[in-house]
Amino acid sequence: MDGNAPIRRSASFPPETIHEIQRAAAEGIYEIRGFGAKRRLPTFDDLVLLGASISRYPLEGYREKCATDVVIGARFAKKPLHLKIPITIAGMSFGALSATAKTALGRAATMMGTTTTTGDGGMTDEEREASSLLVYQVLPSRYGLNPRDLRRADAIEVVVGQGAKPGGGGMLLGQKITPRIAAMRALPAGIDQRSACRHPDWTGPDDLAIKIQELREITDWQKPIYVKVAAARPRYDVQLSVKSGADAIVLDGMQGGTGATQDVFIENVGIPTLPALREAVEALQELDMHRKVPLIISGGIRSGADVAKALAMGADAVSIGTAALIALDCNRPIHVADYAALGTAPGACHHCQTGRCPVGIATQDPALESRLDVDAAARRVRNYLSTMVLEAQTLARACGKSHLHNLEPEDLAALTVEAAAMAGVPLAGTGWIPGRY
């Protein structure tokens, strides 16, 4: 036998699996972490846009207009929101994120004419001031929920679920609970705070309709009311949300980020954004509500290409969480020793739950928080949003569209059989949509 025999690893037990089994054996508890699903999933990368040619006219890049605005809430609200771009900032809690990070996101959204969203734990004054359009979440935990904030919000989002954990509640670990956060949530400082998985005062769609009616009554029917659901059974959830009287639906695919959730949950519950979006659009079409009740899709959106493809599939807007944090500085290769101290490295960090965020985003530690310069951070997120919009416009013009919303499934082809089946668009080079024709 020569000494160079290749090391043979097991496909069933790769090093990460071995490590996880031994970690579980030592600690007796599952891993709780931040970020979204890390496993490979079918995504918008598996679709391509079909640019114009002889049978379609393109629009002139840099010259001809390609509009990007979207109206949300025109179904019932007296004051619908007029967004300049179809990209919103998703709800991320003050608690999971620092006040500085929340402020920077608010300022960036304001500069771009779009919304940012509160999160579990309530609204802060900093966030309200920084955001010209702020969506206020009503979550099962009801932490910090109060009618004053409901009235000073621009829209209300009833959160039923999050893509990272459909059917699951939340957990903000004690290390992140400062006295301010504890007071906002009416809980003792330093304890692990569980966020409920069910709303305390309603169950099922009939109740939800009455809950929405109550929120409308409290706010005199002024504010758009969104319902946010995790992608598990989007066909039912979308139709039931419409029936319950939602002005808009936020649908979060399984890639969706989180501040702290069990790894086993993140990786194994829910369906990816791609098939969820198709099911949701079909559900709306069945009710003749497509483009009448706006659909905001989230979970793994990273680029203008993702935006263009999501809109082509029928979304009205997208929402971003993780990518916005990355634009802020998440996973940037600075303070590398602090990543190492968490047992990770830039590019692989998912340690938001520790409160020791090396770049000052997912932390409540004043020293770490000061690493994020709020003006510079806001500018970065603004630049990133702006780039995404330019990218999406470029792609839409190439498909001959004068508005991003004019993109359509006919502009898409799939690169894999799986994506063709899930997105409901033909496999490239064929007319074949698996499961249909």
């Binding site: 009618p147 109740d207 009455i210 109550e214």
Partner: protein, 227 residues
Amino acid sequence: MITVDLEETSVRDLNQRLHDLPGDTNERTWTVVNPGGRHALLAGLTLPLAVTVRGHVGYYCAGMNEAADVVIDGHAGVGVAENIMSGSVRVRGNASQAAAASGHGGLVVIEGDASARCGISMKGVDIVVGGSVGHMSAFMAQAGRLVVCGDAGGDLGDSLYEAVIYVQGTVASLGADCEEQPMADADRAAVAELLARAGIAGDPARFRRYGSARQLYHFHVDHADAY
């Protein structure tokens, strides 16, 4: 006193009229008749008004109440006084599920019985129930006090945080992390004060106190059986 008949006026119009009242209004005493089980009645009041509803109300009556004193001279549907911030809500009859859910402050009095999940997620409200409460009452209750003059259903105070529960009658079972604790003089004084504010007769000496054992405040593998 102003009387509004809900056979003639919509809930929307009534709520809007109450929301539009200026802070220095003289129109402080209201009576609502023929509520007919309608939902979201008197939701989102912000002024110190005295409002009496003659009849039964549907879901979320007096939801998110601030400052107003609301009396429901009948039974109340799901989530009466949900997320109440201040003021008071009194139900002369019985209340359905989730009464005073996630209430942050103020006083909720239910003279009859309250159904399941009374005081669920409560965050500082005081609740006095003249009769009994259903199962899972004070589930995940964070702060405030729940006084039950009758009996409590199963899993009382499951996953309780810092809210305190006083029960005069029997408790079918305690939920995870809820334990009986000694009644101190301060507890008897608190019960006496709450009963007096609620206008409900009772002997504070006969109440037992239930609070959090605080074993689940930090997730630990040795407590996995409790979940």
